[in-house]
Assembly symmetry: C2
Homo-oligomer: 332 residues x 2
Protein backbone atom coordinates (compact mmCIF):
# COMPACT_ATOMS: atom_id res chain seq x y z
CA UNK A 1 0.00 0.00 0.00
CA UNK A 2 1.48 3.38 -0.94
CA UNK A 3 2.10 5.84 1.87
CA UNK A 4 2.68 9.58 2.18
CA UNK A 5 5.33 10.58 4.70
CA UNK A 6 6.29 14.03 5.85
CA UNK A 7 9.75 15.34 6.67
CA UNK A 8 9.20 16.67 10.20
CA UNK A 9 11.60 19.57 9.68
CA UNK A 10 10.94 20.81 6.14
CA UNK A 11 7.28 19.70 5.91
CA UNK A 12 8.03 18.14 2.51
CA UNK A 13 6.07 15.02 1.60
CA UNK A 14 7.23 11.88 -0.19
CA UNK A 15 5.30 8.90 -1.53
CA UNK A 16 6.64 5.47 -0.63
CA UNK A 17 5.60 2.74 -3.05
CA UNK A 18 7.65 -0.22 -1.88
CA UNK A 19 5.42 -2.80 -3.54
CA UNK A 20 6.27 -1.34 -6.96
CA UNK A 21 9.85 -1.31 -5.89
CA UNK A 22 12.80 -3.42 -6.57
CA UNK A 23 14.81 -5.38 -4.07
CA UNK A 24 18.19 -3.78 -3.33
CA UNK A 25 19.82 -6.54 -5.35
CA UNK A 26 17.96 -5.31 -8.47
CA UNK A 27 19.60 -1.90 -8.23
CA UNK A 28 22.99 -3.55 -8.27
CA UNK A 29 22.08 -5.89 -11.10
CA UNK A 30 20.98 -3.11 -13.43
CA UNK A 31 23.88 -0.76 -12.90
CA UNK A 32 26.36 -0.56 -15.76
CA UNK A 33 29.72 -2.10 -14.82
CA UNK A 34 32.18 0.52 -13.67
CA UNK A 35 35.60 0.45 -15.26
CA UNK A 36 38.40 0.54 -12.70
CA UNK A 37 40.37 3.78 -12.52
CA UNK A 38 44.16 4.00 -12.82
CA UNK A 39 46.06 5.02 -9.67
CA UNK A 40 47.64 7.87 -11.63
CA UNK A 41 46.72 9.71 -14.78
CA UNK A 42 49.16 11.87 -16.70
CA UNK A 43 46.64 14.42 -17.85
CA UNK A 44 44.56 14.66 -14.66
CA UNK A 45 44.85 18.20 -13.26
CA UNK A 46 44.37 16.87 -9.71
CA UNK A 47 47.08 14.18 -9.84
CA UNK A 48 50.49 14.92 -8.28
CA UNK A 49 53.04 16.55 -10.64
CA UNK A 50 50.18 18.37 -12.39
CA UNK A 51 49.79 20.97 -9.66
CA UNK A 52 50.59 23.67 -12.22
CA UNK A 53 47.32 22.85 -13.98
CA UNK A 54 45.32 24.21 -11.04
CA UNK A 55 45.26 27.67 -9.50
CA UNK A 56 47.46 28.39 -6.45
CA UNK A 57 46.36 26.32 -3.43
CA UNK A 58 44.55 28.04 -0.55
CA UNK A 59 45.05 25.12 1.83
CA UNK A 60 47.27 22.08 1.86
CA UNK A 61 47.79 19.22 4.30
CA UNK A 62 50.32 18.38 5.58
CA UNK A 63 52.43 20.64 3.33
CA UNK A 64 52.34 22.19 -0.15
CA UNK A 65 55.08 19.90 -1.47
CA UNK A 66 53.93 16.60 -0.05
CA UNK A 67 50.20 17.12 0.09
CA UNK A 68 47.50 14.68 1.01
CA UNK A 69 44.66 17.21 0.77
CA UNK A 70 44.79 20.29 -1.41
CA UNK A 71 42.21 23.08 -1.78
CA UNK A 72 42.37 25.31 -4.87
CA UNK A 73 40.09 27.97 -6.33
CA UNK A 74 37.88 26.41 -8.98
CA UNK A 75 39.45 27.21 -12.35
CA UNK A 76 36.04 26.96 -14.01
CA UNK A 77 34.21 28.76 -11.23
CA UNK A 78 30.51 29.45 -11.58
CA UNK A 79 31.03 32.49 -9.34
CA UNK A 80 33.87 34.98 -9.03
CA UNK A 81 35.23 36.63 -5.87
CA UNK A 82 36.18 39.85 -7.66
CA UNK A 83 32.67 41.03 -8.50
CA UNK A 84 30.35 43.42 -6.66
CA UNK A 85 27.26 42.15 -4.85
CA UNK A 86 24.93 44.99 -5.81
CA UNK A 87 21.61 43.85 -7.17
CA UNK A 88 20.12 45.64 -10.12
CA UNK A 89 16.88 45.71 -12.09
CA UNK A 90 16.58 44.45 -15.64
CA UNK A 91 13.19 45.96 -16.34
CA UNK A 92 11.21 44.58 -13.41
CA UNK A 93 13.42 41.48 -13.06
CA UNK A 94 16.13 41.26 -10.41
CA UNK A 95 19.73 40.44 -11.26
CA UNK A 96 23.14 40.50 -9.55
CA UNK A 97 26.67 40.02 -10.72
CA UNK A 98 27.94 36.52 -10.10
CA UNK A 99 29.92 37.29 -6.96
CA UNK A 100 30.83 34.26 -4.91
CA UNK A 101 33.57 31.83 -3.97
CA UNK A 102 34.09 28.45 -5.63
CA UNK A 103 36.79 26.07 -4.43
CA UNK A 104 37.79 22.49 -5.13
CA UNK A 105 38.95 20.14 -2.38
CA UNK A 106 41.31 17.54 -3.85
CA UNK A 107 40.82 14.77 -1.35
CA UNK A 108 43.73 12.45 -2.02
CA UNK A 109 46.76 12.16 -4.32
CA UNK A 110 45.63 8.81 -5.73
CA UNK A 111 43.41 9.09 -8.78
CA UNK A 112 41.54 5.88 -7.94
CA UNK A 113 40.81 6.56 -4.30
CA UNK A 114 37.38 7.43 -2.92
CA UNK A 115 36.18 8.24 0.63
CA UNK A 116 34.51 4.81 0.93
CA UNK A 117 37.95 3.20 0.63
CA UNK A 118 40.07 5.77 2.48
CA UNK A 119 41.30 5.39 6.04
CA UNK A 120 39.47 7.23 8.80
CA UNK A 121 42.47 9.53 9.12
CA UNK A 122 42.35 10.39 5.42
CA UNK A 123 38.64 11.22 5.58
CA UNK A 124 39.31 13.23 8.75
CA UNK A 125 41.78 15.39 6.85
CA UNK A 126 39.22 16.05 4.11
CA UNK A 127 36.65 17.09 6.72
CA UNK A 128 39.22 19.30 8.44
CA UNK A 129 39.87 21.02 5.12
CA UNK A 130 36.11 21.64 4.77
CA UNK A 131 35.94 23.08 8.29
CA UNK A 132 38.97 25.29 7.81
CA UNK A 133 37.71 26.67 4.51
CA UNK A 134 34.18 27.21 5.82
CA UNK A 135 35.60 29.15 8.79
CA UNK A 136 37.77 31.29 6.51
CA UNK A 137 35.06 31.94 3.92
CA UNK A 138 32.58 32.83 6.67
CA UNK A 139 34.77 35.81 7.55
CA UNK A 140 33.90 37.38 4.21
CA UNK A 141 31.18 39.88 5.04
CA UNK A 142 29.58 39.57 1.62
CA UNK A 143 29.03 35.79 1.91
CA UNK A 144 25.85 34.48 3.53
CA UNK A 145 25.80 30.80 2.66
CA UNK A 146 28.49 28.13 2.27
CA UNK A 147 27.53 24.89 0.51
CA UNK A 148 29.96 21.96 0.70
CA UNK A 149 29.22 19.07 -1.61
CA UNK A 150 30.64 16.06 -3.40
CA UNK A 151 29.56 14.76 -6.81
CA UNK A 152 30.58 11.14 -7.34
CA UNK A 153 30.23 9.82 -10.89
CA UNK A 154 28.66 11.08 -14.10
CA UNK A 155 25.05 10.64 -12.98
CA UNK A 156 25.87 12.84 -10.01
CA UNK A 157 27.10 15.59 -12.32
CA UNK A 158 30.88 15.27 -12.27
CA UNK A 159 33.21 14.81 -15.21
CA UNK A 160 36.46 14.66 -13.23
CA UNK A 161 37.20 11.21 -11.78
CA UNK A 162 39.93 12.24 -9.35
CA UNK A 163 38.49 12.25 -5.80
CA UNK A 164 37.39 15.79 -5.02
CA UNK A 165 34.61 17.79 -3.47
CA UNK A 166 33.54 21.39 -3.88
CA UNK A 167 32.68 24.46 -1.86
CA UNK A 168 30.46 27.21 -3.28
CA UNK A 169 29.76 30.27 -1.18
CA UNK A 170 27.10 32.78 -2.20
CA UNK A 171 25.91 36.20 -1.07
CA UNK A 172 22.38 34.94 -1.73
CA UNK A 173 20.27 32.75 0.54
CA UNK A 174 17.70 31.18 -1.79
CA UNK A 175 14.14 30.14 -0.84
CA UNK A 176 15.13 26.45 -1.04
CA UNK A 177 17.43 27.07 1.94
CA UNK A 178 15.44 29.79 3.70
CA UNK A 179 12.04 28.04 3.81
CA UNK A 180 13.17 25.06 5.89
CA UNK A 181 14.90 27.53 8.22
CA UNK A 182 11.64 29.42 8.65
CA UNK A 183 9.86 26.15 9.39
CA UNK A 184 12.49 25.31 11.99
CA UNK A 185 12.09 28.75 13.58
CA UNK A 186 8.31 28.35 13.77
CA UNK A 187 8.80 24.94 15.35
CA UNK A 188 11.19 26.42 17.89
CA UNK A 189 8.78 29.21 18.74
CA UNK A 190 5.91 26.74 19.13
CA UNK A 191 7.59 23.83 20.88
CA UNK A 192 10.69 25.45 22.36
CA UNK A 193 13.06 22.92 20.78
CA UNK A 194 15.21 22.43 17.69
CA UNK A 195 13.11 20.31 15.31
CA UNK A 196 16.24 18.53 14.06
CA UNK A 197 17.24 17.50 17.60
CA UNK A 198 13.74 16.04 17.99
CA UNK A 199 13.88 14.32 14.61
CA UNK A 200 17.17 12.62 15.47
CA UNK A 201 15.84 11.54 18.86
CA UNK A 202 12.73 10.12 17.23
CA UNK A 203 14.80 8.23 14.62
CA UNK A 204 16.93 6.78 17.43
CA UNK A 205 13.79 5.84 19.37
CA UNK A 206 12.18 4.13 16.35
CA UNK A 207 15.57 2.52 15.60
CA UNK A 208 14.63 0.57 12.46
CA UNK A 209 16.06 3.15 10.02
CA UNK A 210 19.36 3.61 11.88
CA UNK A 211 22.52 2.57 10.03
CA UNK A 212 25.12 3.70 12.58
CA UNK A 213 24.57 4.98 16.12
CA UNK A 214 27.88 6.31 17.45
CA UNK A 215 28.50 8.44 20.53
CA UNK A 216 27.88 11.82 18.92
CA UNK A 217 26.43 11.01 15.50
CA UNK A 218 23.50 9.10 14.03
CA UNK A 219 23.46 7.86 10.43
CA UNK A 220 20.08 6.74 9.13
CA UNK A 221 17.77 6.47 6.13
CA UNK A 222 15.25 9.14 7.11
CA UNK A 223 11.54 8.40 7.68
CA UNK A 224 10.62 10.57 4.65
CA UNK A 225 13.48 9.51 2.34
CA UNK A 226 13.08 11.12 -1.08
CA UNK A 227 14.97 8.43 -2.99
CA UNK A 228 16.20 4.86 -2.51
CA UNK A 229 19.04 4.57 0.01
CA UNK A 230 19.10 8.26 0.92
CA UNK A 231 21.30 8.51 4.01
CA UNK A 232 21.71 11.31 6.51
CA UNK A 233 24.26 11.92 9.22
CA UNK A 234 23.29 14.24 12.07
CA UNK A 235 25.25 15.33 15.10
CA UNK A 236 23.25 14.29 18.18
CA UNK A 237 24.30 17.44 20.03
CA UNK A 238 22.72 20.70 18.98
CA UNK A 239 25.09 22.61 16.71
CA UNK A 240 23.77 24.90 13.99
CA UNK A 241 26.91 24.93 11.86
CA UNK A 242 29.53 22.46 10.73
CA UNK A 243 32.23 25.01 11.67
CA UNK A 244 31.48 24.24 15.34
CA UNK A 245 32.56 20.61 15.08
CA UNK A 246 35.55 19.97 17.37
CA UNK A 247 38.65 17.83 16.76
CA UNK A 248 37.33 14.75 18.50
CA UNK A 249 33.95 14.92 16.83
CA UNK A 250 35.52 15.35 13.40
CA UNK A 251 37.37 12.03 13.74
CA UNK A 252 34.14 10.36 14.82
CA UNK A 253 32.26 11.93 11.89
CA UNK A 254 34.98 10.74 9.50
CA UNK A 255 34.49 7.21 10.77
CA UNK A 256 30.68 7.37 10.44
CA UNK A 257 30.85 8.98 6.99
CA UNK A 258 33.45 6.55 5.71
CA UNK A 259 31.46 3.57 6.96
CA UNK A 260 28.18 4.86 5.48
CA UNK A 261 29.85 5.44 2.11
CA UNK A 262 31.52 2.02 2.30
CA UNK A 263 28.14 0.35 2.96
CA UNK A 264 26.79 2.04 -0.17
CA UNK A 265 29.96 1.21 -2.12
CA UNK A 266 29.99 -2.51 -1.35
CA UNK A 267 26.22 -2.95 -1.09
CA UNK A 268 25.25 -1.11 -4.27
CA UNK A 269 28.35 -1.62 -6.39
CA UNK A 270 29.89 1.84 -6.02
CA UNK A 271 26.85 3.91 -7.04
CA UNK A 272 27.06 7.50 -8.23
CA UNK A 273 26.02 9.85 -5.44
CA UNK A 274 25.94 13.42 -4.19
CA UNK A 275 26.61 14.40 -0.63
CA UNK A 276 26.00 17.80 0.86
CA UNK A 277 26.81 19.42 4.20
CA UNK A 278 24.02 21.81 5.21
CA UNK A 279 24.90 24.46 7.79
CA UNK A 280 23.24 27.55 9.20
CA UNK A 281 23.67 30.77 7.24
CA UNK A 282 26.68 32.89 8.23
CA UNK A 283 25.99 34.82 11.42
CA UNK A 284 23.49 32.21 12.61
CA UNK A 285 25.99 29.64 13.83
CA UNK A 286 24.86 29.90 17.44
CA UNK A 287 21.15 29.90 16.75
CA UNK A 288 18.97 27.49 18.68
CA UNK A 289 16.60 26.43 15.89
CA UNK A 290 19.03 25.30 13.16
CA UNK A 291 21.13 22.13 13.03
CA UNK A 292 23.83 21.13 10.55
CA UNK A 293 23.77 17.72 8.86
CA UNK A 294 25.03 15.70 5.91
CA UNK A 295 22.78 14.16 3.29
CA UNK A 296 24.01 11.43 0.92
CA UNK A 297 21.89 10.76 -2.17
CA UNK A 298 22.80 7.75 -4.33
CA UNK A 299 21.80 8.51 -7.95
CA UNK A 300 19.62 5.50 -8.49
CA UNK A 301 16.21 6.98 -9.31
CA UNK A 302 15.45 9.58 -12.02
CA UNK A 303 13.21 12.42 -10.87
CA UNK A 304 10.50 12.89 -13.51
CA UNK A 305 7.72 15.36 -14.32
CA UNK A 306 5.74 14.62 -11.18
CA UNK A 307 8.71 15.25 -8.88
CA UNK A 308 9.67 18.44 -10.74
CA UNK A 309 6.09 19.65 -10.81
CA UNK A 310 4.97 18.82 -7.30
CA UNK A 311 8.17 18.45 -5.30
CA UNK A 312 6.70 15.18 -3.99
CA UNK A 313 9.25 12.43 -4.60
CA UNK A 314 8.10 8.90 -5.30
CA UNK A 315 10.45 6.47 -3.58
CA UNK A 316 10.25 2.79 -4.49
CA UNK A 317 12.40 1.54 -1.60
CA UNK A 318 11.24 1.92 1.98
CA UNK A 319 13.88 3.50 4.22
CA UNK A 320 13.35 0.65 6.70
CA UNK A 321 14.36 -1.86 4.04
CA UNK A 322 17.22 0.34 2.80
CA UNK A 323 18.64 0.71 6.32
CA UNK A 324 18.33 -3.02 7.04
CA UNK A 325 20.12 -3.77 3.77
CA UNK A 326 22.90 -1.27 4.48
CA UNK A 327 23.38 -2.55 8.04
CA UNK A 328 23.92 -6.06 6.68
CA UNK A 329 26.41 -5.12 3.95
CA UNK A 330 29.77 -6.73 4.44
CA UNK A 331 32.50 -4.10 4.22
CA UNK A 332 35.59 -5.52 2.60
CA UNK B 1 30.81 37.20 -16.37
CA UNK B 2 28.51 35.02 -14.28
CA UNK B 3 25.17 36.48 -13.23
CA UNK B 4 22.54 35.74 -10.60
CA UNK B 5 18.95 36.10 -11.79
CA UNK B 6 15.78 35.87 -9.78
CA UNK B 7 12.48 34.34 -10.82
CA UNK B 8 10.11 37.24 -10.19
CA UNK B 9 7.28 34.96 -9.07
CA UNK B 10 8.94 32.27 -6.96
CA UNK B 11 11.95 34.34 -5.78
CA UNK B 12 14.25 31.45 -6.73
CA UNK B 13 17.71 32.39 -7.98
CA UNK B 14 19.76 30.86 -10.77
CA UNK B 15 23.37 31.40 -11.81
CA UNK B 16 24.00 31.97 -15.51
CA UNK B 17 27.51 31.08 -16.62
CA UNK B 18 27.27 31.40 -20.39
CA UNK B 19 31.02 31.78 -20.89
CA UNK B 20 31.60 28.32 -19.47
CA UNK B 21 28.82 27.11 -21.64
CA UNK B 22 28.56 25.29 -24.84
CA UNK B 23 27.03 26.53 -28.07
CA UNK B 24 23.67 24.92 -28.81
CA UNK B 25 25.36 22.88 -31.52
CA UNK B 26 27.52 21.19 -28.84
CA UNK B 27 24.47 19.86 -27.05
CA UNK B 28 23.34 18.19 -30.26
CA UNK B 29 26.79 16.85 -31.04
CA UNK B 30 27.18 15.09 -27.73
CA UNK B 31 23.78 13.45 -27.54
CA UNK B 32 23.75 9.71 -28.17
CA UNK B 33 22.03 8.86 -31.45
CA UNK B 34 18.40 7.91 -30.93
CA UNK B 35 17.24 4.72 -32.54
CA UNK B 36 14.05 5.19 -34.54
CA UNK B 37 10.92 3.63 -33.03
CA UNK B 38 8.65 1.20 -34.90
CA UNK B 39 5.15 2.48 -35.78
CA UNK B 40 3.66 -0.50 -33.96
CA UNK B 41 4.93 -2.83 -31.29
CA UNK B 42 3.28 -6.17 -30.51
CA UNK B 43 4.04 -6.12 -26.82
CA UNK B 44 3.39 -2.41 -26.14
CA UNK B 45 0.44 -2.07 -23.73
CA UNK B 46 -0.47 1.28 -25.29
CA UNK B 47 -0.54 0.13 -28.93
CA UNK B 48 -3.93 -0.67 -30.55
CA UNK B 49 -5.10 -4.29 -30.16
CA UNK B 50 -3.41 -4.41 -26.75
CA UNK B 51 -6.17 -2.46 -25.01
CA UNK B 52 -6.75 -5.45 -22.72
CA UNK B 53 -3.31 -4.88 -21.20
CA UNK B 54 -4.47 -1.61 -19.62
CA UNK B 55 -7.25 -0.95 -17.13
CA UNK B 56 -10.69 0.12 -18.41
CA UNK B 57 -10.52 3.55 -20.11
CA UNK B 58 -11.98 6.58 -18.33
CA UNK B 59 -11.96 8.74 -21.45
CA UNK B 60 -11.60 8.06 -25.14
CA UNK B 61 -11.66 10.24 -28.25
CA UNK B 62 -13.43 9.99 -30.59
CA UNK B 63 -14.77 6.58 -29.49
CA UNK B 64 -13.66 3.55 -27.44
CA UNK B 65 -13.31 1.34 -30.53
CA UNK B 66 -11.53 3.71 -32.83
CA UNK B 67 -9.60 5.84 -30.38
CA UNK B 68 -7.09 8.55 -31.05
CA UNK B 69 -6.65 9.51 -27.40
CA UNK B 70 -7.27 7.14 -24.52
CA UNK B 71 -7.08 7.79 -20.77
CA UNK B 72 -6.72 4.82 -18.42
CA UNK B 73 -6.03 4.47 -14.70
CA UNK B 74 -2.33 3.86 -14.18
CA UNK B 75 -1.89 0.11 -13.68
CA UNK B 76 1.27 0.75 -11.66
CA UNK B 77 -0.17 3.70 -9.78
CA UNK B 78 1.91 5.39 -7.10
CA UNK B 79 -1.37 6.37 -5.41
CA UNK B 80 -4.69 4.56 -5.05
CA UNK B 81 -8.20 6.06 -5.14
CA UNK B 82 -9.62 3.50 -2.71
CA UNK B 83 -7.67 4.60 0.38
CA UNK B 84 -8.63 6.96 3.19
CA UNK B 85 -7.02 10.40 3.53
CA UNK B 86 -6.67 10.44 7.30
CA UNK B 87 -3.24 11.42 8.51
CA UNK B 88 -1.70 9.57 11.39
CA UNK B 89 1.32 9.80 13.65
CA UNK B 90 4.17 7.34 13.55
CA UNK B 91 5.79 8.42 16.80
CA UNK B 92 6.16 12.15 16.16
CA UNK B 93 6.36 11.73 12.37
CA UNK B 94 3.36 12.38 10.14
CA UNK B 95 2.10 9.79 7.66
CA UNK B 96 -0.96 9.24 5.47
CA UNK B 97 -2.21 6.38 3.36
CA UNK B 98 -1.34 6.79 -0.30
CA UNK B 99 -4.72 8.06 -1.43
CA UNK B 100 -4.72 9.74 -4.81
CA UNK B 101 -5.52 9.37 -8.49
CA UNK B 102 -3.01 8.33 -11.14
CA UNK B 103 -3.99 8.20 -14.81
CA UNK B 104 -2.18 7.71 -18.09
CA UNK B 105 -3.08 9.69 -21.21
CA UNK B 106 -2.23 7.63 -24.29
CA UNK B 107 -1.77 10.41 -26.78
CA UNK B 108 -1.86 8.64 -30.13
CA UNK B 109 -2.28 5.12 -31.54
CA UNK B 110 1.09 5.23 -33.31
CA UNK B 111 3.99 3.96 -31.23
CA UNK B 112 6.48 6.27 -32.94
CA UNK B 113 4.53 9.50 -32.77
CA UNK B 114 5.37 12.40 -30.45
CA UNK B 115 3.67 15.77 -29.90
CA UNK B 116 6.46 17.58 -31.78
CA UNK B 117 5.43 15.69 -34.93
CA UNK B 118 1.66 15.52 -34.41
CA UNK B 119 -0.84 17.75 -36.15
CA UNK B 120 -2.29 20.69 -34.24
CA UNK B 121 -5.60 18.83 -34.11
CA UNK B 122 -3.96 15.77 -32.57
CA UNK B 123 -2.26 17.87 -29.90
CA UNK B 124 -5.56 19.68 -29.31
CA UNK B 125 -7.23 16.36 -28.55
CA UNK B 126 -4.53 15.49 -26.02
CA UNK B 127 -4.98 18.86 -24.30
CA UNK B 128 -8.76 18.39 -24.31
CA UNK B 129 -8.29 15.04 -22.58
CA UNK B 130 -6.14 16.79 -19.93
CA UNK B 131 -8.81 19.45 -19.43
CA UNK B 132 -11.65 16.96 -19.22
CA UNK B 133 -9.83 14.76 -16.71
CA UNK B 134 -8.70 17.73 -14.61
CA UNK B 135 -12.32 18.97 -14.46
CA UNK B 136 -13.59 15.54 -13.45
CA UNK B 137 -10.87 14.87 -10.88
CA UNK B 138 -11.37 18.32 -9.37
CA UNK B 139 -14.90 17.28 -8.36
CA UNK B 140 -13.39 14.79 -5.91
CA UNK B 141 -13.60 16.56 -2.58
CA UNK B 142 -10.56 14.76 -1.21
CA UNK B 143 -8.26 15.97 -4.01
CA UNK B 144 -6.46 19.30 -3.66
CA UNK B 145 -3.86 19.28 -6.40
CA UNK B 146 -3.78 17.92 -9.97
CA UNK B 147 -0.39 17.63 -11.66
CA UNK B 148 -0.32 16.92 -15.41
CA UNK B 149 3.05 16.00 -16.85
CA UNK B 150 4.87 14.29 -19.68
CA UNK B 151 8.17 12.38 -19.40
CA UNK B 152 9.88 12.02 -22.77
CA UNK B 153 12.80 9.60 -22.89
CA UNK B 154 14.81 7.66 -20.34
CA UNK B 155 16.66 10.69 -18.94
CA UNK B 156 13.26 12.23 -18.23
CA UNK B 157 12.24 9.19 -16.21
CA UNK B 158 10.09 7.14 -18.56
CA UNK B 159 10.56 3.55 -19.59
CA UNK B 160 7.56 3.33 -21.95
CA UNK B 161 8.25 4.70 -25.43
CA UNK B 162 4.65 4.91 -26.63
CA UNK B 163 3.56 8.59 -26.57
CA UNK B 164 1.79 9.21 -23.29
CA UNK B 165 1.50 11.67 -20.48
CA UNK B 166 0.34 11.31 -16.89
CA UNK B 167 -1.98 12.87 -14.37
CA UNK B 168 -1.39 12.50 -10.63
CA UNK B 169 -3.86 14.05 -8.22
CA UNK B 170 -3.10 14.29 -4.51
CA UNK B 171 -4.92 15.27 -1.33
CA UNK B 172 -1.69 16.95 -0.25
CA UNK B 173 -0.41 20.37 -1.31
CA UNK B 174 3.34 20.22 -0.67
CA UNK B 175 5.59 23.18 0.27
CA UNK B 176 7.17 23.12 -3.20
CA UNK B 177 3.77 24.10 -4.61
CA UNK B 178 2.48 26.17 -1.69
CA UNK B 179 5.47 28.48 -1.24
CA UNK B 180 5.33 30.05 -4.71
CA UNK B 181 1.58 30.50 -4.17
CA UNK B 182 2.25 32.37 -0.92
CA UNK B 183 4.80 34.54 -2.74
CA UNK B 184 2.22 35.30 -5.42
CA UNK B 185 -0.37 36.19 -2.77
CA UNK B 186 2.08 38.56 -1.04
CA UNK B 187 2.82 40.15 -4.39
CA UNK B 188 -0.88 40.58 -5.05
CA UNK B 189 -1.45 42.15 -1.65
CA UNK B 190 1.48 44.51 -2.13
CA UNK B 191 1.14 45.49 -5.77
CA UNK B 192 -2.50 44.64 -6.50
CA UNK B 193 -1.65 42.48 -9.52
CA UNK B 194 -0.98 38.86 -10.46
CA UNK B 195 2.81 38.50 -10.50
CA UNK B 196 2.61 36.05 -13.40
CA UNK B 197 0.62 38.52 -15.53
CA UNK B 198 3.37 41.08 -14.85
CA UNK B 199 6.12 38.58 -15.60
CA UNK B 200 4.59 37.70 -18.97
CA UNK B 201 4.13 41.38 -19.83
CA UNK B 202 7.75 42.06 -18.91
CA UNK B 203 9.00 39.14 -21.02
CA UNK B 204 6.96 40.45 -23.96
CA UNK B 205 8.33 43.97 -23.40
CA UNK B 206 11.97 42.74 -23.24
CA UNK B 207 11.22 40.51 -26.25
CA UNK B 208 14.62 38.86 -26.63
CA UNK B 209 13.65 35.63 -24.84
CA UNK B 210 10.34 35.18 -26.68
CA UNK B 211 10.02 32.09 -28.89
CA UNK B 212 6.38 32.47 -29.95
CA UNK B 213 4.04 35.40 -29.36
CA UNK B 214 0.52 34.38 -30.39
CA UNK B 215 -2.76 36.14 -29.66
CA UNK B 216 -3.40 34.58 -26.27
CA UNK B 217 -0.16 32.78 -25.40
CA UNK B 218 3.52 33.59 -25.00
CA UNK B 219 6.23 30.93 -25.23
CA UNK B 220 9.66 31.99 -23.98
CA UNK B 221 12.88 30.94 -22.30
CA UNK B 222 12.37 32.68 -18.95
CA UNK B 223 14.74 35.36 -17.62
CA UNK B 224 15.74 33.07 -14.73
CA UNK B 225 15.88 29.77 -16.66
CA UNK B 226 17.12 26.98 -14.43
CA UNK B 227 18.53 24.85 -17.23
CA UNK B 228 19.54 25.16 -20.90
CA UNK B 229 16.57 25.64 -23.24
CA UNK B 230 13.95 25.68 -20.48
CA UNK B 231 10.75 26.87 -22.17
CA UNK B 232 7.53 28.16 -20.65
CA UNK B 233 4.13 28.78 -22.15
CA UNK B 234 1.84 31.22 -20.33
CA UNK B 235 -1.67 32.36 -21.18
CA UNK B 236 -1.57 36.15 -21.56
CA UNK B 237 -5.01 36.49 -20.00
CA UNK B 238 -5.30 35.96 -16.27
CA UNK B 239 -6.57 32.45 -15.56
CA UNK B 240 -5.56 30.60 -12.42
CA UNK B 241 -6.30 27.10 -13.68
CA UNK B 242 -5.88 25.16 -16.89
CA UNK B 243 -9.49 23.93 -16.53
CA UNK B 244 -10.64 27.44 -17.50
CA UNK B 245 -9.11 27.27 -20.97
CA UNK B 246 -11.85 27.54 -23.64
CA UNK B 247 -12.19 25.67 -26.93
CA UNK B 248 -10.62 28.37 -29.05
CA UNK B 249 -7.71 28.90 -26.69
CA UNK B 250 -7.02 25.19 -26.48
CA UNK B 251 -6.45 25.00 -30.26
CA UNK B 252 -4.12 27.99 -30.04
CA UNK B 253 -2.25 26.42 -27.12
CA UNK B 254 -1.92 23.16 -29.08
CA UNK B 255 -0.33 25.09 -31.91
CA UNK B 256 2.09 26.95 -29.62
CA UNK B 257 2.99 23.79 -27.68
CA UNK B 258 3.49 21.72 -30.83
CA UNK B 259 5.69 24.39 -32.38
CA UNK B 260 7.78 24.82 -29.22
CA UNK B 261 8.31 21.06 -28.96
CA UNK B 262 9.11 20.87 -32.69
CA UNK B 263 11.74 23.61 -32.30
CA UNK B 264 13.35 21.56 -29.52
CA UNK B 265 12.98 18.34 -31.53
CA UNK B 266 14.62 19.60 -34.71
CA UNK B 267 17.03 22.03 -33.03
CA UNK B 268 18.36 19.69 -30.34
CA UNK B 269 17.93 16.30 -32.01
CA UNK B 270 14.81 15.13 -30.16
CA UNK B 271 16.08 15.64 -26.60
CA UNK B 272 14.56 13.93 -23.57
CA UNK B 273 12.33 16.36 -21.69
CA UNK B 274 9.68 16.77 -19.03
CA UNK B 275 6.74 19.09 -19.38
CA UNK B 276 4.37 20.03 -16.61
CA UNK B 277 1.11 21.98 -16.46
CA UNK B 278 0.90 23.92 -13.20
CA UNK B 279 -2.55 25.04 -12.08
CA UNK B 280 -4.08 26.57 -8.98
CA UNK B 281 -5.08 24.18 -6.21
CA UNK B 282 -8.66 22.90 -6.38
CA UNK B 283 -11.10 25.51 -5.12
CA UNK B 284 -8.75 28.36 -6.08
CA UNK B 285 -9.50 28.38 -9.79
CA UNK B 286 -10.96 31.88 -9.72
CA UNK B 287 -8.31 33.41 -7.53
CA UNK B 288 -6.68 36.64 -8.68
CA UNK B 289 -3.09 35.92 -7.63
CA UNK B 290 -2.42 32.54 -9.31
CA UNK B 291 -1.84 31.81 -12.99
CA UNK B 292 -1.54 28.47 -14.76
CA UNK B 293 1.34 27.74 -17.12
CA UNK B 294 3.36 25.02 -18.82
CA UNK B 295 7.04 24.44 -18.27
CA UNK B 296 9.15 22.33 -20.64
CA UNK B 297 12.53 21.16 -19.36
CA UNK B 298 14.88 19.44 -21.83
CA UNK B 299 17.06 16.97 -19.90
CA UNK B 300 20.40 18.29 -21.01
CA UNK B 301 22.10 19.30 -17.77
CA UNK B 302 22.60 17.09 -14.68
CA UNK B 303 21.73 18.77 -11.38
CA UNK B 304 24.59 18.10 -8.95
CA UNK B 305 25.31 18.56 -5.26
CA UNK B 306 25.21 22.36 -5.41
CA UNK B 307 21.76 22.42 -7.03
CA UNK B 308 20.41 19.81 -4.60
CA UNK B 309 21.95 21.56 -1.62
CA UNK B 310 21.17 25.18 -2.40
CA UNK B 311 18.30 25.03 -4.91
CA UNK B 312 20.33 27.50 -7.01
CA UNK B 313 20.66 26.06 -10.50
CA UNK B 314 23.76 26.76 -12.58
CA UNK B 315 22.73 27.25 -16.19
CA UNK B 316 25.44 27.29 -18.85
CA UNK B 317 23.23 28.63 -21.66
CA UNK B 318 21.74 32.10 -21.47
CA UNK B 319 17.99 32.13 -22.13
CA UNK B 320 18.54 34.92 -24.66
CA UNK B 321 20.83 32.66 -26.68
CA UNK B 322 18.52 29.65 -26.22
CA UNK B 323 15.49 31.61 -27.46
CA UNK B 324 17.39 33.03 -30.44
CA UNK B 325 18.53 29.53 -31.35
CA UNK B 326 15.03 28.08 -31.03
CA UNK B 327 13.47 30.91 -33.08
CA UNK B 328 15.88 30.13 -35.90
CA UNK B 329 15.35 26.36 -35.95
CA UNK B 330 13.93 25.13 -39.22
CA UNK B 331 10.91 22.94 -38.56
CA UNK B 332 10.73 20.13 -41.07
Amino acid sequence: MPEFRQNKATKEWVILTPERGKRPVDFVKNLPPRKPLPAYKDDCPFCPKNEHLTLEPIYTYPSPDRWQVRVVPNKYAALQPSLATTRSWVGSFLSAKGFGIAEVVIEHPRHDNTPALMTVDEVTQVLKAYRQRQIEISKNEKINLVTIFRNHGARAGTSLEHPHSQIIATPIVPPHVRYPMEQALQYYDQFGRCVYCEMVEEELRQEERIIIDSQNFAAFCPFASRSPFECRIYPKMHKASFILIDDEEIVELASVLRETLARLYFGLNNPDYNYIIRSATIGDHDTRHLHWYMVIIPKIATPAGFEIGSGIYINTTSPEEAARFLREVEIK
